[in-house]
Each structure stands twice: as C-alpha cells, then as structure tokens.
C-alpha cells in the first residue's frame, strides 16, 4: 500500500497531530496545577484548581485516546494492506471527537461541569464521543479483512474497542436515578467502569506496541505464540475483574474485594515473565537502539516493570489501606500514563509521522527523552514520599490539621514542580520536533 498517497492515512495522522496538541495543552495546565500546590491560593479568583485539574486531566486523557485512535487507524490499514473501509466515517469520527474535546476544554474555563472525576464535563458531551467511537468500531471491523488465525494484537485491538465503548457507557449509568441514588453502589459502578476503561485503552496501546515491535524486528513469531495469547487473556481477565483495588475502603460487597485481590495476583505471572525475559530484552534493545521509535518502547518497558510492581503492592488490601487516598495513587497514575502510555504512544507517533522521509535529529530526541524520563523518575519518587507522609498522617492517632500536613510536604512540592517543569520542557522539544521536522525527500 502506498502510504503517502492514502487520504485515510492523512486523516489518521490528523488524529495524532490533535493528540500532540492536547498533550502540550495538558502539560501546561499540569504545571499551573503544580504551582497551586506550591503557592496555595494562586489564581484562586480567576483560574482556581477545580478548573485547572480537569483542564490538565481531560487534555492528557484525550491525548491518550486521540493518539491511540490515530495509531490503531493507521496500523489496521498497514496490517491489512488496504485503505480504511469508510473514509467519510473516519472524517466524521475525527470532527466529532475534535469539536467535542475543544468544546469540553472551553467549557471548563467557564466553570461548566456536571460530570464526575476524569469526565468532569457536562454529560451531554458524552453523546458525540459515544457516536464517534461507534464509527471507529464500524470502520475497524470493516477494514479488518479476516478474523481467522489473527495475531494477538488484532485480538487486543478488537477487545479494546468493544470494552472502551461498554465501560464509557457504563461510566454514565449515573445519569439514571436508579444507579446514582445509592451512594456506595454508585461509587462502586463508577470505579468499576474507570478501572476497566483504562484496561480497554491499554489493550489498544499494547496491541499497537506489539505490532510496532513486529514491524521493527520483522519477526511475527511472537504475535502468534501461545504465550502471547496467555498474556493477552491474563490482561483481559484483569481488565474485567481487577478494578476493586480502587474501592477497597468503600463499604461495599466484601466479595468484590476478594475477587479483585485474587485476580490482581495473576499479574505476578506478567511481572515474573518480564524479569525472566530481562536479559533477552536488553540484548534486543542493543540491537534496535538506533531506531528512534524503539527507544520509546525501551523506556516504556522500564516503567511497566516499576508500575506493575507498585500496582501489585497496591492491590493487596492490607497495603492499600495505607496507600489509598494518598499521592502514591497519583504516582501510579503518573507512572502509567506518562511512563508507559505516553512513551508507547510517542513510539507510534514517531513511526507514523516519520515514515515519509522525515528524520528526527537523534541527538535532540535522545536528550529530550532522557530529560522526560529522569524528570518523571524524580517526580514519581517525590509523589511516593508525599504519599508516605500522608499515609502516616492518616494513620496517626492524634493527627495534625490537614493544612499543616500539606505544609509539611512543601519541600517535596518544590522538587515536584522543578521535575514537572523539566518534564514539560522535554516533552515540548519532542512535540516540536515531531510536528515541525521538515521532509527530507
């Protein structure tokens, strides 16, 4: 397939350009939010934290979703060696998503909320998102030429697409009084949907990651191997049943907690395999280090290891009692969304945007990626330390007032700000290079 002249691929690249813009926007508001931790009350009258947080969170969540959509739409065409089934529907999907997201972000500036944490926007905006996702599903399933003997990443894409739709709709069940009037059950369903939704978009991202690895190595043995499918079904099992760690402290059904605790331990199998394959991964890394996209995959591998370790610990209820509601949860979120999701997505972005004779200057890319990852590590450690401070405070018999506990974290907030700032600069360099590198053919 001639990629350069394919109009559908141009549209899927447009998703990626919007995604990178959202990442830049989200990073900027992340820094504004950090300043509000550093200087309590900063911008209180004009741009207070209840606006800044959703501006940051929604922008980065939509960065993940847009980049994942653009990558899947590109790779499904490359894999099947054919153009997208319905280019017009792809354009409608693009415009529905883009207009909705811009409207959502503008609405936050005007304090128009009405939703829940992570989807703070008015629920009416969920409708075009659902519609756009259905168009995405229609296009994907019609572009996929065969459903027999497919590699594991096709299974992952299909599962991710369907489960995202299911969980996104599930996260809006609260609009019906039956679901929202019982506080505890409402929160149970809310966090059930959120936990599985993250698993759904991870399916799309990890699927792309396996496809890209296959493309780089030229070896498709792994994608059809039984171990790949065992890991896929383990991940799917976790997507479906391992969301209870969000609500261990909620006075809900005890069996939800037991199921989640048991299921989460299957992740030990995944982490065990990472350790087992460590040496092979290092030699693989040496072999492909010169490929820009591969470097992002390599960093993501390290973050998978660190975050999976943290996630397994947090899935043990006895440990979760200490970490829940503290910045350790934020550390896990940041490690996952930046260290894993963003590194993988940037690998796809490099692969997709640079396939037309555009070449990144490796020296700049290396410096920027290294800056992002070192900053993230400092940021991550800092969050874990502040989490430990809060955990100790929560468990204290005679706790000091909340404001004093927050004040005691101030030195860490300074480090948090500096590392956040350098991470933003690193990302800005990457984004600039990706968007404005000229063609060399």
């Amino acid at each position: 397939m001639e990629q350069s002249n394919n109009k559908s691929l141009h549209t899927s690249r447009a998703f990626i350009i919007v995604a990178l813009s959202l990442l830049a926007f989200g990073l900027f508001f992340g820094i504004v939010g950090t300043l509000q931790y550093l200087f309590p009350g900063y911008l209180k009258d004009n741009l207070s934290f209840e606006k800044v947080r959703p501006l940051h969170v929604s922008a980065v969540v939509f960065w993940i979703i847009f980049a994942a959509m653009g990558s899947v739409l590109t790779y499904v065409q490359q894999y099947n060696n054919k153009e997208i089934a319905f280019p017009f529907l792809q354009k409608v999907q693009y415009y529905l998503f883009s207009v909705s997201v811009v409207t959502i972000l503008v609405s936050y500036f005007f304090s128009v909320f009405g939703g829940r944490e992570y989807w703070e926007f008015n629920p009416i905006f969920a409708l075009p998102i659902i519609l756009a996702w259905i168009l995405f599903i229609i296009n994907f399933f019609n572009t996929q030429t065969s459903y027999k003997n497919q590699p594991v990443y096709v299974w992952m894409w299909m599962s991710g697409l369907l489960f995202f739709l299911f969980t996104f709709i599930e996260s809006y069940l609260w609009v019906f009084p039956y679901f929202r009037n019982n506080v505890v059950n409402d929160m149970t369903i809310q966090w059930k949907s959120y936990g599985s939704m993250v698993g759904a978009w991870n399916m799309l991202i990890y699927g792309c990651s396996l496809y890209l690895m296959e493309k780089i190595s030229g070896d498709n043995k792994y994608s059809f191997a039984p171990i790949a499918f065992i890991l896929f079904f383990t991940s799917l099992f976790n997507l479906m049943f391992n969301w209870g760690h969000h609500i261990y402290t909620l006075p809900t059904h005890q069996y939800i907690k037991h199921i989640s605790y048991t299921v989460s331990m299957t992740e030990l199998f995944i982490i065990g395999r990472i350790i087992w394959k460590w040496r092979a991964s290092v030699s693989e890394a040496r072999k492909h280090y010169h490929i820009s996209a591969y470097r992002f995959l390599m960093y993501a591998d390290v973050w998978v290891f660190l975050n999976l370790g943290l996630a397994i610990l947090m899935s043990i209820p006895a440990i979760n009692v200490f970490t829940h509601g503290t910045h350790i949860t934020v550390a896990h979120t940041m490690g996952t969304t930046i260290g894993i999701n963003s590194m993988l997505l940037l690998a796809f972005v490099v692969d997709i945007l640079m396939d037309k004779g555009r070449k990144l200057k490796a020296v700049w890319l290396n410096r920027a990626v290294l800056t992002v990852n070192i900053s993230l590590l400092i940021f991550w450690i800092c969050l874990i330390i502040t989490g430990i401070i809060k955990a100790k405070w929560q468990m204290s018999v005679n706790p000091i007032p909340f404001s004093m506990m927050m004040a005691s974290m101030h030195p860490y907030f300074i480090v948090f700000f500096i590392s956040g700032l350098s991470m933003m600069i690193g990302f800005f360099i990457i984004i600039y290079k990706l968007l404005f590198t000229k063609h060399h053919i």
Binding site: P177, T249, M395
Partner: protein, 132 residues
C-alpha cells in the same frame, strides 16, 4: 492455540464479566436509602461545582483539600456552612445559593451515614485482607 479455543476462552470470560456486571447493578450492598431529594440535589451541586477536583469521598477524588466522607460528624453543620459561604485561603467562594448549600450539606450527611473513610478503623489480617 487454536482459534476455536481462543474464541471459547473469550466468550466464557465475556459471559462471566457480563454476569458479574449485571449482578452488581441489581444487588446493592445496602438497601436503597429513603428518597431524599435534598441529598440528590446536593450530589448534583457537588458535581456542578466539581468539588471532587480537590476533595475526596472514601479516599476517591482530589488531593488539595481534605477527605469529606465524615465531615458531617467531625464538624457541625454551621461550620460547613460557613466554609461554603466564605471559602478559605485556598478554596474560592463559589457563591452558592442558600438552597445549594443546604442540599450539599444534606448530601454530605448522607455520605457520612454510609460509613467511615478513616483507615485507622480497618482491621488488617495477615492474609492481606481487611475488614471495615
């Protein structure tokens, strides 16, 4: 691994997931509380002003402000009301109407009645499980 085996595993898991989901939708941990319009409206006030960006309920929400699950018990209604009227050095004054303030307090009262978010009150067992 044959295609039929993969499809079978997928379908069994999907069936279990849908069954588990519908069970959770229909079997609630507590009977529904008596209809309380003020608390229901208060929940909408909570969402409309995006209170969860700073505050938590059962440890879920933002980190800039304190967890408010047990706030109704810990402070008097009058204290909560005064916070809502004047804001704090960090929290803006949202200029809530008297009705909105009253509904929001009623919502916090309902949340408080469902249980405690204080991790000190949990029993921790050696097998890693906990009990409230």
């Amino acid at each position: 691994m044959k295609d039929t085996h993969k499809r079978l595993v997928f379908l069994v898991m999907l069936f279990l997931f849908l069954g588990y989901s519908s069970f959770l939708y229909t079997v609630q941990p507590f009977p529904d509380p008596p209809a309380n319009t003020a608390a229901e409206n208060g929940k909408m006030v909570w969402q409309n002003y995006n209170c969860s960006s700073c505050h938590q309920i059962f440890g879920l929400g933002g980190y800039l402000g304190p967890d408010l699950t047990d706030e109704y018990t810990l402070r008097s209604e009058a204290v909560i009301n005064s916070f809502l009227i004047s804001g704090t050095s960090i929290m803006p004054n949202f200029h809530l109407s008297e009705q909105e303030r009253s509904d929001l307090i009623e919502y916090l009262k309902t949340v408080d009645a469902t249980g405690s978010a204080d991790p000190k009150t949990f029993k921790i067992y050696t097998d890693g499980t906990i009990e409230q």
